[in-house]
């Protein structure tokens, strides 16, 4: 069972206090978008063995969504940050890069 820190209320809690929400930083494609773009938005998901950015909700706490950078293989949590952003904070990316030089980076 993971333990995660909610960046909104600052609490570190058990995984059972949170609800997972899949991949973070998806860009929504609506009416007028191409079939390919819409398919990518709706269905295509990264499934890396390694660094992954994902959505979590502090469902049984403050109720806020937040984002986490986590290694899917070792479960290391590099950091959590508020959901109101379209990309991970630069300092988090730098921190991951320092720990995992082989990581291809966020894109």
């Amino acid at each position: 069972m993971l333990s995660l820190t909610c960046p909104c209320c600052g609490i570190t809690a058990e995984e059972t206090e949170f609800a997972p929400g899949g991949e973070a930083h998806l860009k929504r494609f609506g009416p007028g978008s191409s079939d390919e773009a819409f398919e990518g938005y709706l269905f295509a998901r990264k499934n890396p063995k390694g660094v992954h950015f994902e959505r979590w909700r502090h469902a049984y706490g403050c109720g806020k969504w937040f984002l986490a950078a986590r290694c899917t293989a070792t479960l290391e949590v590099f950091g959590t940050y508020p959901a109101q952003t379209t990309q991970p904070p630069a300092e988090l990316i730098a921190k991951i890069k320092a720990k995992r030089p082989e990581w291809e980076g966020w894109a």
């Binding site: 069972m1 009416p31 969504w65 959901a83």
Partner: protein, 984 residues
Amino acid sequence: MSTRLAKGGRLIDRAKPLNFTFNGKPMRGFAGDTLASALLGAGQVMVGRSFKYHRPRGIVASGAEEPNALVGLGRNARFEPDQRTTTTELFEGAETRSQNHWPSLDFDIGEINDRLYKFFPAGFYYKTFMAPRAAWKHLFEPIIRKSAGLGGVPKEADPDRYEQAYAHCDVLVAGGGVAGLAAALREGRAGKRVWLVEQSAHWGGRTPVDDGQIDGVEAEDWIAAALEELESLANVTMRTRFMAAGLYDHGYVIGYESVADATPGDGRPRHRLWRIRAGLTITATGAIERPLAFAGNDVPGVMLASAVRDYIVNWAVSPGDRTVIVTNNDDAYRTALALLDAGLTVPTIVDAREETHGALPQEVKARGVRVLEGRGIARVLGRSRVTGVEICAQAGEGGAVETIACDCVAMSGGWSPVVHLWSHCGGKLIWDEPRAMFRPDPSRPPTGADGAAMATVAGAANGDLTLAETMAGFGIGACSHDEAALAPVWMMPAGATDALRYKAFLDFQNDVKVSDVQLAAREGYTSVEHTKRYTTLGMATDQGKLSNINGLAVLSDALGQPIPATGTTTFRPPYTPISLGAITGEARGDLFQPLRRTPIQSWHEAQGAHWEPVGHWRRPYCYPRKGESHSDAVGREITNTRKNVGMLDASTLGKIVVKGPDAGRFLDMLYTNMMSTLPVGKCRYGLMCNENGFLMDDGVVARLSEDMWLCHTTSGGADRIHGWMEDWLQCEWWDWKVYVANLTEQFAQIAVVGPKARALLERLGGMDVSKEALPFMHWAEGKLGDFDARIFRISFSGELSYEIAVPASQGLALWETLMAEGEALGVMPYGTEALHVMRAEKGFIMIGDETDGTVIPQDLGLSWAISKKKADFLGKRAQERSHMTDPNRWKLVGLETLDGSVIPDGSHAPAEGYNANGQRNTQGRVTSTYYSPTIGKGIALGLVLNGPDRMGEVIEFTGEGETQIKARIVETCFYDKEGEKQDV
């Protein structure tokens, strides 16, 4: 014959004798005994039969690794099978029963399996049950079911109580031997919050049984001093009878505490399950001695060498008068010293090594014990009890050179570190060639949330088998006998014949022999994980604690590869089985699941309502009267509602307030239709789709003020839809100024439905509920009688209908007032089934019936509720996809059976021909189907190919069994098609 010695026994209290029974026979032990030591002390060597061959089996070990000595313990509701006698403490009145035999332990029919061993090779089940198919059902399955399982199952509910608890610490030390004590001292002195846990009832591990000095004093004195200091440290918590069962993600440890096992029914919880968050776990879990694989190594009286000396030193129990020791290492010679000190006979030590020059062998030889070098045991003599051993050359094929009479064999194949906790969450092992063991690889530990090691290892668990090595890890001086190197022995003798290998057991509990593993290798099972499953090696309740290393060494040999190339199987928690009661904790009976109650629930209960679960709610399905069937009650409730007036507790309906300057814009994105244009004071039915275009919820939206809307959702969907709204507001449109609040439980809601509904409300007085003041699809606020009411003119039944929302605290009083005032009008409550039938009669859809996650609103004739004007809403892009606009999508229609019967739920309409999978083609399916008391026949809603274009056509649906039911395709609305009744 095993017996109790007259003197000694460091763990027993001879002043406190305890009575117990074994298979009904009265026996006596002492406080401090385990069931195993008490049984041995009472002379009971054979304690059960093996699972597959029903061979007689005795106690092998003295701890958690015991594979054989499992018994049924207790009686009736407190009966529990498979209790490990070596770790179960004896208590007064304990009733124990042996397992796996019929009719008795001494005479057993199933023993015939042992004579037929050649017909039960590895993979027997897989091979036998390949074919034919019918044989499985009629022959194999009944036999397997009868003989499957280890021990019996209690037939009554568990009367005991179980608890769960949480703990947080900086350091968890797993294991209370000298390594664990030293680790806890080091961490405790440094001011860390420490939990020190030990699975047995005693501190100190096995060091007090073996020899040695620590820090210049006898080991037992050092242990006593360490305990005294630890107990004085406020930051150290110490628990015995507490197993660290598993290490999981991010330093999460499951602890299993035995609280009242030895005092059944004393009111305390029997077990406690702990969820511990540890910053660091130090695994000081010790090591387990390995058996040797020789023919007859499972005959009662063959035991681990360490267990033999444990029984002598700890419990003053002699496993036998004449004990032959067979070993490949020096440590087993300690057992000879313990036997000699107890005045027992060691006729011979059989050492597989060519030379024995270590300090321990020298000391034993000096006491006059004969040591045979380069020798092994060819076979054990005796069946239900050891009577002797045949000695052979270890290098040979097993030709006997000598027979030695004995009644006990103490075997030692070396030691394996207990690496379970280390391995559970990803810690890796390395093969230590000189010591012939897998031990934790310090460079590849399990890692935690920060990516750093979350476990370290100390003492024998790290492969530091001598006291000096263990204490050196803590910078503490210690000394014991120096030990010479062991010689790995995986099969005895090295060239054992087929006949011997057929009786050389690796896994005692699952009856897996050397020959089985070799057969698996020959048949192509080269992966250790496959071999495990094919032979069942290590799959018994002991999870291979004794067998795994020997088994994979035999497999490696058969495959001609080194042991590390074969690797180990996966170590999975828990370390030893934990009770289902502990896992369940308090979550049973009424506490199994929380129940959501409406403010009117007590009234329904008093009426004897028949319930329907809806999410965590329980809603009245119907209110049967005395002697009335449920279907009759539903019919009565519908007819009365349509003729007079009915009342429904609609409090479970989701009620979400959406407020803010951007609330209208937000709702326009959420709903398929336009909500921003809804005038204040009016209601509008709306649909919500997911981004895949599929219909996910529906309900009536009311605009409460210029910037505030109230969204009704389905009863089961309130929390999900509230979460859905929060998700979009927090993660996509976070700059929109909108707040949402789920007020579902803040309001009670009562539907007053039927032609006399208005008359009923008017009897309460207060606000004007006339058609003019409160028209259909409007809402109004005011006083209804004494109640603070918000009344919605909405209808899910087609009748004149008022849904009255009041603060939850007023709900029950309003319900009772309406019931009392309505008596003269013939008011009756109605339940969810009447609600369902009435909505189906009107052709209204129900989320979960007409929708299943693949249905779009267009399928249901709801295109009128999809805005053409809006540039965007959730699901709009998806509904533009070619498959969504395909004219061949099945569409919703009404169905009327020709013979008046009711089409079964889930029924399909077959079409001509078969598909590529050989399945009958279909042209439609039923989504809702009821008997309509209003129409007087079976009606249904269903999705049918080109349905709306086929009005009047008769198609067939599958009925019960092979029957077909003819139904006519009609409009979805069966009742009051013009909608006049609801708009009066």
